[in-house]
Symmetry: C2
Subunit: 301 residues, 2 copies
Amino acid sequence: MSAALETFGAQLEAWRARMEGALERRLPRADEVPERLHAAMRYSVLGGGKRVRPILLLATARTLGLSEEQVEAAACALELVHVYSLVHDDMPAMDDDDLRRGRPTCHKAYDEATALLVGDALQSLAFGLLARDPALPADPAARVRLVGLLADAIGSLGMAGGQAIDLESEGAKLGIEEVERMHSLKTGALIRASVMMGAACRSGLEEAAERALAGFAGPIGLAFQIQDDLLDVLGDTATLGKAAGADRAHEKSTHPSILGIPASQERVRRLHQQALESLAPFGRDADVLRAVTEWLLARQN
Amino acid sequence: MSAALETFGAQLEAWRARMEGALERRLPRADEVPERLHAAMRYSVLGGGKRVRPILLLATARTLGLSEEQVEAAACALELVHVYSLVHDDMPAMDDDDLRRGRPTCHKAYDEATALLVGDALQSLAFGLLARDPALPADPAARVRLVGLLADAIGSLGMAGGQAIDLESEGAKLGIEEVERMHSLKTGALIRASVMMGAACRSGLEEAAERALAGFAGPIGLAFQIQDDLLDVLGDTATLGKAAGADRAHEKSTHPSILGIPASQERVRRLHQQALESLAPFGRDADVLRAVTEWLLARQN
């Protein structure tokens, strides 16, 4: 077991190293005009991050027998979109955070106007990769599916919508159903997309397999957010690489603040179980996804 | 001639009415959660605007024998992206404008966080339409071309890059080549995309026709921006629907500020001529594009 965990730790590091290179090659060079914008894009994307969404996509791809080369560009698109949302979320008009991944946030290291444009340009770059990146499967229908999944996951009925609900509800007492709906959009949608975009890279995937993956992705998306909120309560700033206790400072309604810590941990365990059950049809092929899930829901940062 | 102009005026109004309906149907309803975000998206997109980019696309489509129904969703995507850029550009971190199309800007009518999310969500919605809208030609290869053209036009090597250069150069004295490069990205790229996305909707378009349209789109993009800068100098706030003289107030380098007004007007006339020459191969089929060009480069607001 300990050997398996060690192997999995090495796998995570290998995936992160792959993503660092893959992102680096796809970002505009820092000496290309406009240099300051490109430097800020690279600063925000490279050199850190857990790469949760790319790793979920890479693991889904392996479960379905796809190579990492075939899906690498889609994994980059996910991470670029995730980073864009962090850069905008950190701005003074939103969460007003100074620290991210242990470094000054983009608008602190550069300026607000640049941070605004960094987020905007990262979003465009993500869609551009899905349309044009030569490493993706050439099948245009697969590319169209990828664009559609990503657009749905991050628009006003996805991630951006979840952030809007989050902002509107600061200081308000939300019920647990409202919190779950908000989380389902704010972080859940992109986590689900990470799995479903992996599936979309595989042309001719049977409907039953797609349904099984959807059944896996839903609970994971929610459980991941609850775990994040638990870490915000239980963690410390040094381990998190961002300010701990931020939710309480912003009076945000979260699972821990409504249900308490033990009930929230129990909810994560149940969602984890539910996710694993959905993977049953894949047999041993999904072992890598099981390991990723274990890692996601037991993480300390 | 006056009858033709009257007819063309009616055509512009018909196109605008079509776009208003087409955008209205594609925006999330204002009573859909998150209501405030959706209301702000609708506020920003509907009820105004010249709809220059959609009209260029619709005219290109007619030149190529495509129906308005077939390209309407692509025209919506262009306008959504244009509006996203205005909403972000108006924010305090960028141009800090209070007035747009004669009404309070989005962050004034709502708030900064909402304006940030409005822009983000409009960009996602635009790409979502290109991937999913049932009105577009079903050919996935055409959709992929559309996504690629739009992404290239608005990213850090397109519109967002042009805005970054514009910001960096405030207060600096630019040469005319630098100004033209900045404009070629900031507004030119999306104007060019308006024409080329019309072409991308037509499957099997001959390469010569595509080249001719590219030869038309380039000069139009630049001439449109110079005309905009001339109007900023010559116009008044009531006619423009936004603050006149804003460029001088921001000490921006523009064609009029570098070359003077008569030489800038001459540059517009030459680019106009160059654009018209590129349309020659289309014969009378391109009359509608010629009329649109005339309208764009002779406009007073």
